[in-house]
Amino acid sequence: MFKVIASKMIVPNIHLLTLEAPEIARRVQPGQFVILRASEEGERTPLSVSDWDADLGTVTVILLNIGHTTDQLASLEAGMNIPTVVGPLGNATEIEKFGTVFCLGGCYGIGSIYPIAKALKEKGNKIVTIIEARSSYLFYWEDRFKALSDKLFLITRDGSKGLRGHIERLPQIVKEFGKPIDRVIANGCTFFMKRVSDMTRPLDLSTWVSLNPIMIDGTGMCGVCRVSVGKSTKFACVDGPDFDGHQVNWDELLQRRKTYMAEEAVPMRTSRCEEHSLKLRKN
């Protein structure tokens, strides 16, 4: 059993979960993920590690409450136990001195790009961070990014903060930035990473993405996480999750992620927004 140290909705529908997992906390590196199981009947859910504390022995994930399982995870409270926290899985994001790195995050990817940006900064890179949300109230960890970024851009769909629009503003930002960019790293939903890759291809910017296909074991056994990268089939759990965004067959990945959409709705009886709001108020 693994103890829940903290669980809170940090912005509407996005939850932070901190778990006691000392061995994982000791070894995890930026870009790796863990698999959680919220109950004995639960699914195995892969989630990128967004933060950790080796001394306290804790790991933190950020998740979007979007289906039955994520709702179950979102409903956990500090002090509760869950049966499975396993990892760190997948390969770490390549952390080298590249020069200038653009770190892009959307949704739960704002969380997982944070340790990557931090490690790259420590390696001596110039960090330009771009985070995107529908509206200003959906940003989190802004202060953390402010502290480590040489430049921080915010983009909101409604223009309530930063630039108006979405990640399609990237080419404009690149142009205004004016200096050479050595690498772009994007974390977020599949659609976000696809859009980023689509936009950086004509600009010829090396772009790395952290793929999030469906997984079960996450250790190179079941094969459900296969993705087409270039001409070959790769398994995201052991070959990835990071891949060259310009080589990924995005349409196939988007398609495959929809496999269980109909089934995912089955156990969802009603929305549980009120319950979560109550918890938020209590915190």
Binding site: V85, D217, G220, T233, V238, D251, E263
Partner: protein
Amino acid sequence: MAETVKKKLDLRRRSMPKQMPEVRRHNFKEVALGYTEKSAVEEAKRCIQCPKPRCVGNCPVEINIPGFIQAIADENFERGVRILKEKNCLPAVCGRVCPQEEQCEETCILQKKGGQIAIGRLERFLADWEAVQGELKIPAIPRSTDKKVAVIGGGPAGLTVAGDLIQLGHQVTIFEALHEMGGVLIYGIPEFRLPKLIVKREVDYLQKLGVVLRTDYVVGKTRTVESLLEEYDAIFVGSGAGLPWFMSIPGENLNGVYSANEYLTRLNLMKGFLFPEYHTPVKSHKRVAVVGGGNVAMDCARSALRLGAESRIVYRRSREEMPARLEEIENAEEEGVIFDLLTLPLRYIGDDNGWVKAMEIMKMELGEPDDSGRRRPVPIEGSETIVPVDAVVCAIGNSPNPLIPKTTPGLEVGKRGNIVADEETGRTSRDKIWAGGDVVTGAATVILAMGAGRKAARSMHQYLSSP
């Protein structure tokens, strides 16, 4: 003397009751129901107790087969269990999934006359008899040797190593990547062939013997082999199956095309057949094609049937060449699985939303024998047809698990990514590291993995006991 003359050879193998095909094809409960005491004793009495039993020599774990059979004939089941467990810590599993027809039963002297003793059924009978007696008997274990052994992977190979070494007084910890012990016994073999309760019982037994079980622990990730070596005197790697093979034909990444590993893991480990009570979803398909002819293919086809689909096996050779156990092929046939033999899939065709809707197949005929000794399937030109399917399960095998070879420097690895280990001792190229099971051989059987575990345990014990 007079008695032996009177005792005529009884060649009638006692049959084991099964659930009726029309009933069992709708449920996930165990198909074979096991011997009653009466039929077990009758079957055991047929054994002529050869002075030089050939069955034992053909058992990968060298069980004293005539010994336990005699005990059943004497109706001393407790003694039978004791004899069985001297060599086999997983009898309820082996009694169910071992291919006895090509091992112990094949060399039974009565086989020539068609009446070989049903050794597997008797083994199962004893294990099941013990289970209903309540508390399992824990044998006396020698004093601890203070040697620490790490076993990586809680499948058949690892469980055997753990069972053998704990009984020799070593301290054993099993590290299992998944959330349940048992490896392929849990994620691969379906409930209707091997109830998970039975696996759990065998694992509980090991725990009672003192084996420490660590689930959700991925050696190579959570901690490296290197780091384990600082704490443990010897390591056994039995990390099992790895990435599934596909045929590299068009359409294999369409939605609705599964690997056997995925299909079975969803159903068995994650209990997808109980969705939504268990949360891992399983699609309900109407027409499922399972590609392959091994036991895993049979498991997939029979599972698909139980989920309500029309289910077919697509296999490029004929029934004779099928690697699956005859018993499993017959079970599948009885239940209504359709067999498209001498048939090769050419490509999978998707609909507008990326879901498989049909497959193109081609008929084959058998030519000259190939390297495997089986007749090579040769395509019949012009026989291509398209058949509608809404799911395909690719059950053509898998490579060994890549995690340990990838993260353990100096460990010699073969061409297919398998760990290289000595066949007789399980020793790898690295000091203090042994290996066995699918991670060494590629996809094979439960009992072969157990046999490899047994040999490795012997070699490890020798190493651990030498000054």
